[in-house]
């Protein structure tokens, strides 16, 4: 049912068998772009230059088609009816779960819980895993580069239990100071929640090292993969993380579908997050018993179409091949970093040695908000503001940045357009 983009991607990049004698094609960004219909539209009379991928990515035709195919031919509720459509819908929904399992290399399909987004996944863990364990004086360890969604759920859990949040610092480049993180791990640490990749700075954290350090203290780790998951291959077993969260709409999939990948031992021991249909085995007015994993955490009718769309998106990403995507985006990041130096007074925020696909910057005497409005007139979409990471802005002593963020369909020409538009900012603001 899901459509694979394999036919439109270079065979080598797609990891498909290469027929002897056929030349191996490099990553062909123009062919990738052709798969994303929105990239053909114009904005304010100019070709769309979409550089707000860290907020959400655009969707390939394969995802759009999968959604249409689902609603056109299969739509029914899951895990309920005995009729043909319900069986087909259940199959499609569970096939999506298996695809997510394979994508993140989870040990079991039941370790994949579908949620609305990464935020809900973190809230689920904060509520059902952390909160019952937290005692007054206990600690939750996060880092100074977290998105608000990996701060606030822990604050709520701490406020309810008398626990406190500890924050591992970052250096002036925006890299986590791993020694400080290690120092903050202790007997009172109940969980560590760390971004795999920063949305505001682009920093890629040494996730495996962080998990190993925490485990040495018996501390479980949640990794927020909202940004990392669409830029690099993620193997939760190799990372050995206890929880990994991601959101579908940044993985080139639909909005409203997210995932929590958790270790069986934790998920089994956790009480439900939300109550309702599908998450129960039996209900009486006296008491109810909970369903098996992962359904215990999926109360109510789930986003079936969203899961089906995510399946198609992961197939598309898989066919493109992370190695090829990552190499292409590395080239763009290096090119963009150099090209931005051409803009007088521009300073990049976030220069960690290990970073990916994010160019956050400020320009002397020009507020990011004005930059965003003016480059938009040139058809260039960037994000301006604090990027839901106010503590990061505070760390760097700035109110906001402008941020260009990359995805597989971006080109050097997109970055040239950005630089051109930034010169226009100076003309307008004088």
């Amino acid at each position: 049912m899901t459509t694979v983009a394999g036919g439109q991607i270079a065979p080598a990049a797609a990891g498909l068998p290469v027929v002897p004698g056929t030349p191996t094609l490099p990553f062909d960004v123009e062919r990738v772009r052709a798969d994303f219909p929105i990239l053909r539209r114009t904005v304010r009379g100019k070709p769309l230059v979409y550089l707000d991928n860290a907020a959400t990515t655009q969707k390939p035709q394969a995802v759009i088609d999968a959604l249409t195919a689902y609603y056109t031919g299969i739509n029914a509720n899951v895990h309920r009816g005995v009729h043909e459509l319900s069986e087909r819908a259940t199959e499609a929904y569970e096939a999506a779960r298996a695809r997510v399992q394979a994508f993140f290399h989870a040990a079991h399909a039941h370790e994949v819980v579908f949620t609305r987004n990464a935020t809900e996944s973190i809230n689920l863990v904060a509520r059902s895993f952390a909160r019952p364990r937290l005692q007054p004086g206990d600690e939750v360890l996060i880092t100074a580069m977290e998105h608000h969604s990996n701060i606030v759920p822990w604050q709520l859990a701490c406020e309810a239990t008398g626990a406190t949040i500890r924050v591992a610092p970052i250096d002036d480049r925006g890299a986590l100071i791993v020694d400080e993180f290690a120092r903050l791990l202790g007997p009172r640490t109940v969980i560590a929640a760390v971004s795999h990749m920063s949305n505001a700075l682009g920093t890629v954290n040494p996730a495996a090292e962080i998990v190993a350090l925490a485990h040495r203290h018996g501390v479980p780790v949640l990794l927020d993969g909202s940004q990392a998951a669409y830029h690099m291959a993620v193997d939760v077993q190799a990372l050995d993380c206890d929880f990994y969260v991601a959101t579908g709409h940044k993985l080139y999939g639909p909005t409203g579908i997210g995932v929590l990948v958790g270790k069986t031992e934790h998920l089994e021991a956790m009480p439900p997050f939300l109550g309702g249909g599908d998450m129960i085995r039996s209900v009486s007015f006296e008491r109810s018993t909970w369903n098996d994993l992962p359904y215990k955490f999926e109360a109510g009718t789930p986003n079936i179409a969203g899961a089906v769309g995510l399946h198609a998106a992961l197939d598309y990403l898989g066919a493109a091949g992370f190695e090829a995507v990552a190499a292409h985006e590395r080239d763009l990041l290096a090119y963009g970093t150099a090209a931005l130096q051409d803009v007088p007074g521009l300073r990049i925020i976030g220069t960690a040695p290990s970073k990916a696909s994010i160019l956050s910057f400020v320009i002397d005497g020009m507020h990011p908000h004005d930059i965003g409005t003016i480059v938009d007139r040139e058809g260039v979409a960037v994000r301006t503001g604090h990027h839901c990471a106010q503590p990061v802005m505070e760390r760097f002593g700035i109110p906001a940045t402008a941020r260009a963020s990359l995805a597989m369909y971006n080109t050097r020409a997109d970055l040239d357009a950005l630089v051109g538009a930034l010169h226009r900012v100076r003309e307008v603001l004088g």
Binding site: I374, H386, A400
Partner: protein, 146 residues
């Protein structure tokens, strides 16, 4: 399509580059802090009110060109006016920036330079921040935040 020049008029660029009354005010009788968490614009407004007249005004802070120019233009416009007049001006200003772009609005002198934000809905808050801060300062003497 609305033109960028409608938004970034010369008056606005001038007030952004050289904001008027851009200072703290010793002996202020009213003060409030304005903050727009969406874009991080932040300003502190100081007023000296004597016998119902705003005799002096100052502001400090950081923000985009629109918010800074709006604060600067506002301080010029309210200095020497009665509190009642300043409030009435806020009502008229608010009306101007929230009227649909194709509808004619009254001439508010230099403040009319900000009428262009109507074409840019997400920027209306930038233009209004200083005025909301003024209202907060006037309605509650002492420190306050909007």
């Amino acid at each position: 399509m609305p033109d960028l020049d409608d938004l970034y008029q010369e008056v606005i660029l001038d007030h952004n580059r050289r904001p008027r009354n851009f200072h703290t005010l010793a002996g202020a009788s009213h003060q409030a802090e304005g903050y727009n968490p969406l874009c991080g614009d932040r300003l502190t407004l100081y007023l000296r009110v004597e016998d119902g007249i705003i005799t002096d005004v100052g502001f400090v802070g950081s923000g985009c060109a629109i918010s800074k120019a709006s604060a600067s233009l506002m301080t010029d416009a309210i200095k020497g006016r009665s509190v009642a007049d300043a409030r009435a001006l806020f009502t008229r200003f608010h009306g101007m920036v929230t009227t649909p772009p194709d509808v004619e609005v009254e001439d508010l002198g230099k403040l009319s330079a900000l009428a262009g934000v109507r074409e840019f809905p997400v920027r209306v808050k930038c233009a209004s921040l200083a005025w909301h801060t003024l209202e907060a300062a006037l309605s509650r003497a002492g420190k306050d935040q909007v």
